[in-house]
Symmetry: C2
Subunit: 283 residues, 2 copies
């Protein structure tokens, strides 16, 4: 790999660029972004070597898309139209079904790889880019068999250099499960933040009472609405299902409280402590 | 201060002991705990110098209670009965109204200080005790005027040595606000953990998909039911109120999703991003 084009030089695209630079210093990295401030900042921070335009993609060898998922779906056909036959185009978005359906019959489908690296922070933009964001993280690849074999190999070698472990899934299954382990977490966090802000808006001092527990449960409420609105839109059905189940569990907990069934409350918490085991598996 | 008796040598009591040992190496620390394994472990880890019994409190100079809040309410009158007139007894529990009501008319009320250090982790027991847990954290003192003046001074000097900043509140206000910034966070986290575990119980691999976002929102679901059940019991009314508001906000978010009002979803998230400012205040 001699060149890399990154569309979207924010947290994900920028962090990807930083690690490629470190692992493969010979690669020349071009940034494409409709936000010219971001582009400038990314160059200033040495995240990219140079800026480029969509029109330059004819010569691209590897293209990474790390932009909001609605923009990805809109832009992908044009990108595939432009790139040459040996180019590899990788999408890193948090939903996979809509993009896979969109390019299903594209003549250059084999040039596309659908990926979702489970990595990120609550920050955004090029200043949020950090080294080793992807190291040890899971990268979910969807419909791998639809990507050309040599291009699969090229992508895997790149992901391996960045320290990612690979899992293969169907897009439908990806979107369904990711709704539970990622999308619902964001909503629970946003609504927790909202509940507390609403209640305490006239009592700023109250946040002096907030400790690290509150901080960790509302951390995701700092996330970018630009990124998350299209994710919720594309994964609407699954997200609504998770919300129904979450609300139902909260209602049940409330009912136990109202009935003063504190033995029941104890059991709820004890059973959920099982999450310790699960999280140990993640670490 | 020459001696310190700590009732409950777990995360809070143990961490308190560790810091007192560091700041005031001359103080002899006695541990009291109905769990003899914990006592033994605390001694082995040099958290306490020696073990003691409730009966030994006649000679106690400063007594710290760091046990579940129901046990505190049950035990406090007996402790106050036992200690001498110059002793200082500090409760560190997460609810303050019930304990303040309980000792309201106790002849030794002036020996008692109601405190709530907003510090902790999701772990418990003496092995969870860590240095500097309280440094830079808020310590909420309730009904300070009910504590003897010299004993107030003694407590403040101790808290200062441990690096805590002090805030004064009435017990009712404390319990109401802490329901939002702490108790609700725990329930939202427990129920998130429950929702995901229920859904994914037969698909362990799915947790490979969970990233740091999920991990941080369910962190509190590792917390001890022994500690949290009595807290929810004592703060029932406030907790139910926060739950109602939280569920209502989640229902509203779900409705926006169902109506495909993604502009509304965007605004919800954008408004809640205000939490960034608030959290900056906490750090």
């Amino acid at each position: 790999m001699n060149t890399l084009h990154i569309i979207g030089v924010g947290l994900i695209g920028g962090s990807f660029a930083l690690d490629v630079k470190m692992q493969r210093p010979g690669v020349r990295i071009f940034g494409i972004d409709e936000n010219s401030d971001h582009l400038e900042k990314a160059k200033e921070l040495n995240i990219i070597d140079d800026t480029a335009q969509i029109e330059d993609l004819n010569d691209a060898e590897v293209v990474i898309l790390a932009i909001p998922v609605d923009a990805t779906v809109e832009l992908m056909p044009e990108i595939l139209d432009r790139v040459h036959d040996d180019a590899l185009v990788i999408d890193m978005g948090s939903t996979k079904e809509e993009i896979c359906v969109k390019v299903k019959d594209h003549p250059k489908r084999r040039n596309f790889l659908a990926a979702h690296p489970i990595a990120g922070t609550e920050f955004s933009g090029p200043t949020a880019a950090i080294h080793n964001l992807f190291r040890g993280k899971t990268n979910i690849i969807c419909e791998v068999e639809e990507t050309g074999f040599k291009l699969q190999e090229k992508a895997m070698s790149l992901f391996k250099d960045l320290g990612m472990r690979i899992r293969y899934m169907k897009p439908k299954a990806h979107d369904k499960h990711i709704a539970y382990v990622s999308h619902l977490s964001h909503i629970s966090s946003f609504m927790l933040g909202k509940t507390v802000i609403e209640k305490e808006k006239n009592e700023r001092d109250i946040f002096d009472m907030a400790g690290s527990g509150f901080e960790s449960t509302v951390r995701l409420a700092k996330s970018s609405p630009d990124m998350w609105t299209p994710i919720f839109k594309q994964n609407k059905t699954n997200v609504i299902e998770t919300l129904n189940e979450y609300i139902c569990n909260l209602e049940n907990f409330k009912q136990l409280m109202e009935q003063e069934d504190f033995e029941g409350i104890y059991k709820e918490m004890q059973n959920t402590n099982y999450i310790k085991k699960i999280l140990k598996g993640i670490e």
